[in-house]
Every structure is written in C-alpha cells, then in structure tokens.
C-alpha cells in the first residue's frame, strides 16, 4: 500500500505487534478521524515451515507434527490428518474409535468457543466476561486432560483410531461437567443479550453481507453469522456426523452480535452432541492396526474445525514412508479477506473486536509461497533455497541495509 494518502487521513499500522493482536499480523489502516477508510491485511510473520517438515517425517510422526499447527484446534488438525491417511489406505476405523474421535472434536469446540467469547469480551473492554468464560474453559481442559493426559496438544488420534479409551467413570464426570457448563453459558447468553453496553458494541458492527461473505469464501461461524447455513458436518458428513442429531446454527443479522450468538448456540449444540455420543458409545476396540506402507495416491479431507472448514491434502508416492506433499488450508486464511471488508467504514475503536470476530489464528495460517513476478509461476521454497537466497541478498544489499539502519 502506498504512503501517499490525502491530507486529512492518517495511516495507522495495526501490528505486527499490538496489544489487540495475540499473534503477529499487520493491518495498514487508513483512517479519517475515527472512521476507517481502508484496511489492508499483510500476513506471513510467523511462517514455521510445517508443511515442509511434514514431507520429511514418516506418516506416524507427522500426525504429532500437524497437531502443532494450532494450539487450540489441535485435535481437529490431527484428526483430519489421520482421516486423510485412512482415506489413502481405504480403511475403516472401529466405531468406538470414531465416536471417541468425534467426542474430542466437540469438546475442543467447547473450549475454543469459550476461549473466543472471553477474548471478544476483552476486546470490547468487558474483562469480567473474559475472566468468567476462561474459568469455565478450565472444566473442558480438565476433561481433555483426564481423557488424554494433556491439556493442549492431546495426541489423541493416530492412524487407525484413537489412543485412549473412555471409561464409565470418565463418562459420568464429563456428563456432570456438561450440566454445569450448560447452566453457566445459558446465564451468560441471557446477560449478554440484555446488557446495553455490550450490545452497543456488537450490534450493527462489522457488517459482512451474505453475498460478500460467499464471494470472499468465508467459512465457519463467520459465514453462518452472515445467514448462510453451511457446515461441513451437515453438507458433507464424515465420521459419525450423519448419525448424530444436531442443528446448524445461523443468524442473519450479519454483524458481530450474530457472530457471538452463533458461537454460543453452537456451544449448546456441542454439549447436546457430547451427551448423545456418550450415551450411544458402542463397545469394541478403539484402534485398528494400520499398515505402515501407504499406497500411491492423493486424498483430500475436510473437517469443520471450531473456526470453520479445515482442509487437508496428502499425496503419497507409494515408495517411501513419508508423504510426498501435505497441504493444509486453515479456516483463518479463508476468513482473513473478509476482515478487510468488515473494517471499511467502521470506527477505529471497533477494529480490535472486528479482527477478533473471525477468531483468527494467525500462526496456523502462514505458509510461504513465492510467486515470480515476471513469469507468474509459483513455487515452494525449501529451507536451503531460502537460506541461499537470503545469503545472496545480504551480500548484494549489505551496504544499503547498514546505511538504512544508521539513518534510523
């Protein structure tokens, strides 16, 4: 974005370091007084090279690597990866394993949505909500710790099923915690829909119209808050989602309030689903041994992660025991374009909550792709190539860089 702007406008850089952002991303905001005229997102500050790493590890190890793509939806990533590899193998996993996998996904949705609700409260200066929802989130974290031994990266899935079983005692504990959570979140929903200072900050803020949302390919709760009933769990059922009774929540007011209430209502749906899963848990093993050698082929799997549609693409060459290519498309990347649209015309004070409104997970999103300007050809750079490039660049431009630094 150029720096020549009209005199009555100012250019405000939001990020890469800013208290409103939990992760580094940059928005160049052009503001006229308190009104945002234009906003340009710039991504790529936390590229970690996970896709490249995945290509160098065995299928088994990659399952624990992709879990690290996102700290919050780690089970969704791992589960989708395992699903994709199982698709390549053309194998069915035992029903109990499938049920427990879905149970962890839904528990994760609970924890992700309550985390988001707290962050949203913090962004509008309502820290009390933040403290309360994060307290309740601990209940879910404790359940996940009880199931898998870990609070964040659970390591629950593996190719061919899940690693841990659910006992009757655990089942009772989970059901009890669900009752408490449902009671508390019903209370929050009631309070939020009555509190004028909260509604004043949420209603008619960050409008994303239905047609624009579809055009910019928004996904997940962001899309559903714009009045589109799209959910991979319903549209393209995988696992046991065609058996579980649940409803797709959508609100058509297209603003931040809709995004809040979509998530709260999904929270209740998830609680219902968890109850159904626990009450209908089939007997049997949770895991079936999978062959080490993966046949040649490619597969795509989609999953409705808490933030939206998550896509995995894996290509296997059938010879080595590590994937030839792993491509991950996280929901934040699909949603980041719509932020620019939502920001236009809003108040500067609403920028943090609008950015937080899509539940961005910046580090999940960053992938490096180099597009040659003259040929228009895209290629993926390896570590070595990158290192070479930086060495050459610095050799050529060292003098200039040092001079620039001195100037500052």
């Amino acid at each position: 974005m150029s720096n020549d702007i009209p005199e009555d406008e100012i250019l405000i850089p939001l990020g890469p370091q800013h208290p409103a952002l939990k992760e580094p991303i940059n928005f160049m905001i052009r503001a006229e007084g308190e009104i945002v005229v234009d906003a340009q997102p710039r991504i790529g500050y936390v590229h970690r090279g996970i896709e490249r790493l995945a290509m160098e590890r065995t299928y088994l190890k990659t399952a624990y690597l992709v879990e690290r793509v996102c700290g919050i939806c780690s089970a969704a990533h791992q589960g989708t990866y395992c699903m994709t590899v199982e698709e390549l193998l053309d194998m069915e996993i035992p029903p109990r394993g499938e049920y427990i996998r879905t149970l962890v996904w839904e528990l994760e949705r609970l924890h992700s949505h309550s985390l988001w609700l707290g962050v949203a409260g913090h962004e509008i200066g309502f820290d009390t909500l933040f403290m309360y929802t994060w307290r309740d989130r601990e209940l879910v974290m404790d359940i996940l710790e009880m199931l898998s031994g870990n609070r964040v990266n659970y390591g629950m899935n593996k190719i061919g099923g899940v690693r841990y079983d659910v006992t009757d005692e655990m089942k009772n504990k989970i059901l009890k915690a669900m009752d408490l959570l449902e009671k508390r979140f019903k209370d929050y929903k009631k309070k939020l829909s009555e509190e004028p200072t909260v509604l004043g900050r949420l209603v008619n803020v960050g409008i994303l119209k239905k047609s624009t949302a579809i055009k910019l390919s928004a996904v997940g709760p962001t899309l559903r808050a714009s009045g589109v009933k799209a959910d991979i769990r319903k549209d393209d059922p995988y696992g046991i989602y065609d058996e579980i009774p649940f409803e797709v929540i959508s609100y058509d007011s297209c603003d931040l309030a809709a995004r809040v209430f979509v998530r709260i209502d999904e929270f209740f749906e998830s609680i219902k689903m968890i109850r159904w899963i626990l009450n209908n848990l089939p007997d049997g093993p949770v895991y079936k041994r999978a062959p080490i050698r993966i046949p040649q082929g490619e597969a795509i799997c989609r999953n409705e992660a808490p933030r939206g549609e998550l896509m995995y693409y894996i290509k296997s060459d059938g010879k080595s025991n590590h994937p030839e290519r792993v491509k991950i498309r996280t929901p934040t990347l699909a949603n980041i374009l719509s932020i620019g649209e939502m920001l236009k015309g809003s108040y500067l004070a609403d920028v943090p909550i609008i950015v937080a409104g899509i539940d961005p997970c910046i580090s999940c999103m960053d992938r490096v792709m180099v597009v040659h300007e003259d040929t228009g050809k895209a290629e993926i750079w390896t570590d070595e190539k990158f290192r070479d490039y930086s060495r050459k660049w610095y050799k050529k431009n060292l003098k200039w860089v040092v001079e620039e630094r001195w100037k500052k």
Binding site: F126, E195, R201
Partner: protein, 328 residues
C-alpha cells in the same frame, strides 16, 4: 514560629503529601481487590499482607525503570506534563476536608476553585498526549478531550447542587450544613445528583466503561503510551490521587464529610476514621461498577453524556432549586 512549623508539618506529613500518597496507593489496592473479586479472581496477593503493598511495589519498580523519551517529542512539554499533573492532583486534595470541617486550604469559594483545578488535570492529559507525538497518543488525547467536554458539565452541575442546598460555595460550609443544619447527609436529598456525580467521576478517572482515552486493546495505553519509567510512575500516582480526590470530594459533598460520631478529645482521629470509611465506600462502589460494563465507544459515551446525563443533571439542578425555595 511554632505555628509555621506546625503548618509545614501538616502540609508535608499529615494530612498533607505523605498521607495523601500512602492513602491513595492504598485506595488503588482496594480498587484492584474489589475489581478482582467481581471477576472471580483473587487480585494482588503476594506483596505484604493480602497484597496490600502491591501498588507501592509497582510504584517503586516504575521509578527504577528506564526512562525513554521519543526523539520527536516536545522536550519540555514531555518532561513537565507528568510533574504538573502530579502537582495539580495534589493541589486538589488539599481542599478536601480530611480531619475536620475544612481541608488544608480553605477559601470562601473553594468549591469553584477545586473544580477549576481538577479541570486543569484533564487539559494536562490532552497536552501530555499531544506532546509525545505518537499516533496512538494523539488519538488518545483527542478522545480524552472529547470525553472531557462531555462529562465535565454534568460533573460540575452535580457538585453545584450540593452547593445550592447548603447555600454556599465553600466546602467547609457544605460539610457544616449537612451536620449542623440539615442533620442529614445530602445523599438523602440529592440521590440522583450523587449518581450523576459517580457516573461522571467514572469518566473523569478513565475507568471502565469510560476508559476510552487509554483503551488498552485499541490504543495500547492511549495518551500515556510513550511515557515510561519515572514519568509514568508520576502519572500513575497522579491518577491514584485523583481517585482519592473524587472519593474525598464525594464524601464531603454528599456523605457528610469526615464528620461523624466521635469520642470527646479524640475528634481528629475519629474524623479520620469516618473519612476513610466514606472514601472506601465510594472507591469500592467505583471498583464494582468497573466489573459490570463493557467499554463504550467514544461516540456512544459522548452521546450518553450529552443526551441523557446532561439533561438529567439539569433536571436535578432545577429540582434542587425548587427544594430549597419551596420546601426546605
């Protein structure tokens, strides 16, 4: 000679500088504790008994931190605005009665003077943001100015109501009237004015829901974003003293001041006790309010003050005048 030394001591130690600093830091602790309890947290816990020394520790730590000055900031303005802010805040507290009917300084029309000086503080805030020449602090200063124009009129009107009821503009006489003429704190007659006073002092102290000028998630720290080390410590202390001023003035105007049942011979001590009780009450109330609301947007806050609070305070003012001429 003895009198001069006595006066000097009362200005420097009690109830002057030292007492004001220590007590305002204690009030900050109480505010943080109440706010934390509302949010289901424990608040400061480690330093001292129940974390009572935490504000002192924070203050001393800030004093020892590196003091950074932005290159393009106005040199003298940047240096003097925290100093002046602290001085001005301290000045206002000297007018608040702490151990008797009058404060350290008492003049015939000191209510107006105190309002004038406390207004200076807000102008200093705007200047502090302006002098530090940063985009965040400029926007913070603009917001501080906008908000200041909105809340100052209801704030002054609610104060004047107490003056009208006591038929005086001297704080000492207002306290006297509550205890010796009406035998009732003014909050009984002027409850709506007291509420308006609390709401506009929330804005004056930049607390949630009116912490717009320093909105953490939008502007980092708003007008004070460039201040660090000693200068920031002075600003923080000044803000704490301002909280003491607001609660002390509220106690004096609406809750009967520091006067209360006293043991003969120990009046100053008993009055100090009542002063502490009443200011703690107001500070706890403000801390409680902080936990209940989300932050307003600047346009919403300005709208609220101009469209709701200002007409309400005018009505309360008329009601007070009617009360004084026809009923009392």
């Amino acid at each position: 000679m003895e009198e001069i030394i006595w006066n000097l001591l009362s200005f420097i130690i009690f109830p002057g500088l030292l007492f004001v600093c220590i007590y305002s830091l204690f009030l900050e602790w109480l505010d943080r504790k109440v706010y934390a309890r509302v949010q289901n947290r424990v608040g400061p816990l480690i330093t001292g008994s129940k974390g009572i020394l935490q504000p002192f520790a924070d203050f001393i730590k800030l004093l020892s931190k590196e003091d950074i000055k932005p290159e393009c900031a106005d040199r003298w303005g940047f240096l003097f605005s925290p100093l002046t802010a602290l001085t001005v805040a301290m000045m206002t507290v000297f007018f608040v009665p702490i151990v008797g009917y009058q404060g350290l300084i008492s003049l015939p029309v000191d209510l107006l003077i105190v309002v004038f000086i406390s207004t200076l503080f807000n102008i200093l805030v705007i200047l502090a943001g302006y002098f530090s020449v940063s985009r965040f602090s400029t926007i913070g200063a603009v917001r501080a100015g906008l908000q200041f124009v909105a809340y100052e009129i209801p704030f002054v009107l609610s104060i004047i109501c107490a003056g009208v009821l006591a038929k005086s503009l001297s704080i000492a006489e207002i306290v006297y009237a509550q205890n010796n003429i009406y035998h009732m704190p003014f909050v009984v007659y002027l409850f709506p004015a007291f509420i308006i006073y609390l709401v506009s002092s929330l804005a004056k102290l930049e607390r949630v829901p009116f912490d717009i000028p320093e909105a953490e998630t939008e502007l980092a720290a708003g007008w004070q974003v460039e201040y660090s080390g000693r200068k920031l410590a002075l600003f923080k202390l000044a803000a704490d003293i301002k909280a003491l001023f607001v609660s002390g003035l509220g106690a004096a105007l609406f809750l009967g001041g520091p006067i209360g049942p006293a043991i003969a011979g120990l009046e100053p001590l008993c009055y100090l006790f009542w002063f502490i009780v009443k200011t703690l009450f107001i500070v706890a109330l403000i801390g409680f309010f902080r936990g209940l609301f989300a932050r307003f947007r600047i346009d919403q806050a300005v709208n609220l003050f101009w469209k709701t609070v200002l007409p309400a305070s005018l009505i309360v003012f008329i009601y007070t005048s009617v009360l004084i001429y026809f009923i009392l």
